[in-house]
């Protein structure tokens, strides 16, 4: 039973096979990455189209559009999915990935657009939507940011009519700078803005709920209960 002796050709062959596998895996990984980017872009386009539709509908019908529901549940679902997916992509590819950062910037702009539309509608229709603006920083190790993000995500899941808009403080977007100056925000994280008032540091769900006026909290609870009942 002859054993194999040193054969330089086999070493070279294995080198090229390994290189080939590396290349295939790299291309496959790139393909999956592009697919994910395309899916995220698609969601962003959908959101943009939805917002645009709402804007046009609102402009066309003026006050009459107040009769339709204030928030589009499909849009909220899409924004939530987008937020989760972007957060996962950022976690996996790091904050230095230009494509992910670009998608995140666009997402931030869409959030602001949705926020403005909501405010405009509230003004015209006399509604009082409950919105929380949440600012965080990915620079440094902001454990409280991660904790409050969990609380807000859970609240967003539980309350259909709660609008949470999350912004990365260090994204370098001028509109975020404008928001910072509107609410006179300091460089302390995390910070949430509720009813135009900033609250710094980690807040538990109970603490956040305590900041919401009783009437609005009752409304939130009522809508979430009815939504749950309807879903059943």
């Amino acid at each position: 039973m002859q054993q194999q002796q040193f054969n330089s050709r086999k070493y070279i062959l294995v080198f090229f096979i390994t290189l080939g596998i590396f290349a295939i895996v790299f291309l496959f990984s790139d393909f999956l990455y592009r697919t994910r980017i395309a899916q995220v872009k698609n969601i962003e386009d959908n959101i943009n189209r939805n917002i645009l539709e709402s804007e046009i509908q609102f402009a066309l019908l003026a006050d009459a559009s107040c009769e339709t529901s204030g928030s589009n549940p499909l849009l909220i679902d899409e924004i939530n999915t987008l937020a989760k997916r972007l957060s996962l992509m950022e976690e996996q590819r790091g904050t230095s990935d230009p494509e992910v950062m670009s998608l995140k910037k666009y997402y931030s702009l869409l959030q602001i657009k949705d926020y403005l539309l909501l405010r405009e509608r509230a003004k015209q229709c006399g509604e009082k939507p409950l919105t929380i603006l949440y600012f965080y920083s990915n620079e440094g190790n902001c454990a409280d940011c991660r904790k409050i993000a969990l609380v807000l995500s859970k609240m967003r899941e539980d309350y259909d009519n709660l609008h949470v808009y999350a912004f990365d403080f260090n994204l370098g977007l001028s509109v975020i700078e404008t928001l910072k100056s509107i609410y006179s925000l300091e460089n302390k994280f995390p910070v949430i803005v509720l009813n135009r008032h900033p609250y710094y540091g980690f807040k538990t769900r109970e603490e956040i709920e305590a900041l919401i006026p009783d009437k609005e909290l009752l409304r939130l609870n009522a809508t979430s209960t009815s939504a749950t009942t309807t879903k059943k």
Partner: protein
């Protein structure tokens, strides 16, 4: 991940993948040699004479089974001698050994404690057979083991043959982890033998031609890994070592983490020291074939590669547990996402991860192939699950300590 860790990660991934591709290619080239067909019985006269030395130091509780398994070998009685060498035991090893007095196949020796290599050497001095083997007193042989080994010696160039060493009755998690590890070990040992690149002739039942000791001398202490040193010395002298994968030998493995740690520190430290201090000259030398060019350098550097990947694994577990802790302290106990809400974005499909998944599947393939060779069936048992989940958590313990021993020139003890 910054550039400082990115570049070494790519290099280590490439090297590991290169090694695995090399082994897989060898497997496909040498596929017929992995047959499970047992050796055909031969004429009684054609079996060579064999002496099996059982060095024992405080092995009173296992030596009885060891010797009984040797006496039960399916081999001509007049051609098989068993030498029990009591290495100054302080327990009842000698008394148990003496129960075999009067058996014409067994000879009993006793001496002052001097280490395993001295006990084996005493046996070698008294042996007159053509072949000499060794069986640790905590191991047992399958009755067909020796008959499976002998045909390899038909090739006059083969100077030693190693068996397939497996775990005796893996009855707890630590032993089950080792059982899966030994299966990978057997598959790779067979592959290394096909490459003429074995660097260990395991204590349990490796068989040598007597000429080996005449030509290159007896066992030496070699940082308490005399079996490793003997294989390296043989390879340095261009003596062929084969592997008889159908010759099954079972060893009683450490049942606890501390005892496993002690054993592995001895093995890994011994390998590192033998390779680095005594046989470094073989590294990347074509004249030492695949051993010098591939298996020995990779085995040496794999310690660092394993440590690197263990660190990554631990980091991932730490990140996962921290995230869960945050969730728990923030939201209290709650169940994760239901399966139907699972999002494929949650799976990290980044390039390095994909390569790691690929290497992971290679490892599973190695265990499955090892199980085929040992159990004679493809098996995905819970041993594999325990191995996958926990090996990366416990291996760094002995790897770090062994590296410390290498740098500080400290010796690892037997027990």
């Amino acid at each position: 991940m910054d550039l400082l860790t990115q570049i070494p990660t790519y290099i280590l991934l490439f090297l590991t993948l290169y090694f695995e591709v090399f082994l897989l290619l060898t497997y496909f080239e040498e596929y017929p040699k992995f047959t499970l067909t047992l050796a055909t019985p031969r004429d009684k006269e054609s079996y060579p004479t064999v002496t099996i030395i059982v060095p024992a130091w405080n092995e009173g509780h296992t030596i009885l089974g060891t010797v009984h398994s040797l006496l039960a070998l399916d081999y001509p009685k007049d051609k098989l001698a068993v030498f029990i060498v009591d290495d100054g035991s302080t327990d009842d090893t000698l008394a148990v050994a003496k129960t075999f007095e009067g058996n014409p196949q067994v000879r009993i020796f006793t001496k002052e404690n001097g280490g395993k290599h001295t006990a084996v050497n005493l046996g070698i001095v008294h042996a007159t057979s053509e072949l000499i083997g060794c069986l640790d007193a905590d191991s047992f042989v399958d009755s067909k083991a020796l008959r499976e080994i002998i045909p390899f010696f038909d090739n006059p160039e083969v100077m030693a043959v190693t068996p397939s060493v497996q775990i005796w009755k893996p009855d707890n998690i630590i032993r089950r982890i080792q059982a899966a590890e030994y299966m990978i070990g057997e598959f790779t040992r067979k592959l290394f033998s096909r490459l003429n690149a074995l660097y260990v002739t395991p204590g349990p039942f490796s068989i040598y031609r007597r000429d080996v000791f005449k030509q290159i001398g007896n066992f030496v202490k070699a940082y308490n890994t005399e079996d490793m040193e003997m294989a390296l010395r043989m390879q340095a002298n261009h003596m062929k070592i084969e592997n008889a994968h159908n010759a099954l030998v079972f060893t009683v493995s450490p049942p606890t983490i501390p005892s496993l740690y002690k054993q592995r520190v001895r093995w890994v430290s011994g390998f590192l020291k033998n390779a680095f201090f005594s046989y470094r000259f073989m590294f990347f030398k074509k004249k030492y074939g695949n051993l010098g060019m591939l298996t020995m350098p990779f085995a040496f550097f794999s310690i660092f590669i394993a440590l690197f990947f263990c660190a990554l694994y631990l980091k991932n577990i730490f990140t996962f547990l921290t995230a869960k802790y945050f969730e728990y302290t923030t939201l209290g106990f709650h169940f994760g996402l239901p399966l139907n809400e699972f999002d494929w974005f949650a799976i990290n499909l980044e390039f390095r991860r994909l390569v790691i998944y690929l290497l992971f599947f290679c490892t599973i393939f190695f265990v499955v192939m090892g199980s085929r060779m040992v159990l004679r069936k493809f098996s995905l048992s819970r041993n594999l699950l325990y191995f996958i989940l926990f090996y990366g958590l416990i291996a760094p313990l002995w790897l770090v300590r062994s590296l410390y021993n290498l740098v500080s020139a400290k010796d690892a003890t037997w027990r």
